[in-house]
């Protein structure tokens, strides 16, 4: 029953959120701030995780394909496929759900308990539209950029690990990267990323906006935002893979 009630509240909040902004100038201003907070500030974390993930994939694939009948270029091929299809869009989105989701929920939640949202409302401003919509748009624009960046760094990490550990010659790894490439893999990854961006920002925005109480509840709702976003990312990963790839 509680789930049905919260789902209804979520839909109503989203209907209030996705509307024409009250003032485009203020929306653009807020959008730039959110791109900075949600996107640019995540570059370091994404870079670090991507390089190491790519390196680990390359090493694990090399270890598992230790067979003279399988060409070593398969290491590059499999690293590419795994990074592009799953690790960059899904794992990085899960990481962003933790970092960005908790940031959004705690920021909006704190505004709720300190009456800043009430202040916006009585000024005649639509608070969800002013607070959540720029974050959704910022994530939809910037997360795909981060994911492409993650793919490139993951492949670089795989190359470094494969070549410098002596498991794969550089030429073979690059040959594998270029073999049987299907450009739709990138489209698929970016479609997933945009859906995940919407999930993270809308769920976190909802969790922050509906906080009742004080600082303890802000913390609790931030945790819920991360948990629910992560669950929905995994569920939608399966749905989108079924719809787009199978």
């Amino acid at each position: 029953m509680q789930l049905v009630k919260e789902s209804g509240e979520f839909v109503l909040l989203m209907l209030e959120t996705v509307r024409r902004p009250d003032k485009w100038k203020m929306f653009r201003h807020q959008l730039i701030i959110d791109i900075q907070h949600l996107g640019t500030d995540s570059i370091g974390l994404v870079a670090f995780i991507s390089v190491f993930t790519g390196a680990i994939i390359a090493l694990q694939v090399s270890y598992n394909l230790d067979n003279p009948l399988i060409p070593s270029s398969m290491v590059g091929y499999m690293t590419r496929e795994m990074m592009i299809l799953e690790f960059a869009p899904t794992i990085i989105s899960l990481i962003l759900a933790g970092k960005v989701g908790s940031l959004i929920a705690s920021e909006i939640g704190t505004m709720r308990v300190t009456e800043q949202i009430d202040a916006l409302r009585v000024m005649g401003i639509n608070p969800p539209n002013y607070l959540i919509l720029p974050k959704m748009v910022a994530a939809m624009i910037y997360f795909p950029i981060l994911i492409v960046f993650s793919m490139l760094l993951g492949l670089f990490g795989g190359w470094v690990a494969g070549v410098f550990s002596g498991l794969v010659p550089s030429d073979d790894f690059i040959l594998g990267l270029r073999s049987w490439f299907n450009p739709f893999s990138i489209t698929y990854a970016l479609i997933k990323t945009v859906v995940f961006a919407i999930i993270i920002t809308s769920i976190s925005g909802f969790m922050g906006y509906t906080v009742k109480g004080g600082s303890v509840e802000v913390g609790q709702n931030s945790t819920k935002a991360v948990v629910y976003s992560s669950i929905l990312i995994i569920v939608w990963d399966l749905i989108l893979t079924q719809l787009l790839l199978v």
């Binding site: 505004m111 300190t114 009430d118 009585v122 000024m123």
Partner: protein, 248 residues
């Protein structure tokens, strides 16, 4: 003038406001007083549209506000200034950005005009030169004054203040009271202040509404309150030994 007509409000079956009818007069500081939990904050939140009333009507200069949807309320909302209990300043904005916020949202003034207006209102609340400070750097009294500056920057017709003195020392509380009273006179606003501070009641209460257990129990001025025979009001106003002695 703000008219509150027979309003009822309940939360999860518990009746918080029962048939409250009153008026808030223009150019006067109208106070809502009452014990904690009496319903005074709910009454104010109903007036500013943060709570939807169950029954009754609230009008602003004859314009019905309570029955309008959010979109239609917008016009009346822009004539309101609200001072929240904690100030409700936007943490990530400077004082200037906080005060300028309503101007950015609702006017097409140039940057120079907006800056001039911000300086004008900051000067009025005795905070000249505080433009670049952030809320985290301000004292409780300064936060209240910045919040007042933001509330009056559009020169509203109606000003609402929810417990403007809470958490302030008596001297700063008096400064805030005097400021609200002076601004009311200067801008001819209809000011509604929610308080349980007896100093405020006696100093600036031009029209006082006493709310008791969700009902409007008594109305009068700060002079009337000293001589009233209303038992519940007397118990509230003269609750300490000191005030009882003063009355005698």
């Amino acid at each position: 003038m703000i008219e509150v007509k027979h309003i009822f409000k309940s939360f999860e079956g518990q009746q918080v406001l029962k048939d409250v009818t009153t008026t808030f007069e223009p150019g006067k500081t109208n106070l809502i007083i009452g014990q904690s939990g009496s319903g005074k904050t709910v009454l104010m939140k109903c007036c500013i549209g943060l709570h939807t009333i169950d029954k009754g009507e609230i009008t602003f200069d004859g314009r019905v506000f309570s029955n309008l949807d959010e979109k239609k309320r917008k016009h009346i909302r822009q004539e309101m200034g609200v001072l929240f209990q904690g100030g409700a300043l936007f943490d990530s904005y400077s004082v200037e950005e906080n005060v300028m916020f309503p101007l950015n949202m609702f006017t097409n003034m140039s940057t120079a005009e907006k800056k001039k207006r911000v300086d004008y209102v900051l000067d009025h609340v005795n905070l000249p030169g505080a433009n670049n400070k952030f809320p985290g750097e301000l004292s409780g009294g300064m936060i209240k004054r910045v919040a007042i500056a933001r509330a009056i920057v559009l020169i509203p017709k109606y000003l609402f203040a929810d417990e403007p003195n809470s958490g302030l020392d008596p001297k700063t509380a008096e400064v805030i009271d005097r400021l609200l009273s002076d601004l009311t006179q200067e801008f001819k606003m209809t000011t509604v202040i929610n308080t349980h501070d007896m100093n405020s009641v006696l100093q600036i209460g031009q029209r006082i509404n006493y709310v008791h257990k969700g009902e409007l129990w008594w109305t009068g001025t700060n002079k009337d309150i000293l001589t009233t025979n209303n038992a519940e009001l007397n118990e509230f106003v003269f609750s300490t030994e000191l005030t009882r002695r003063l009355k005698k």
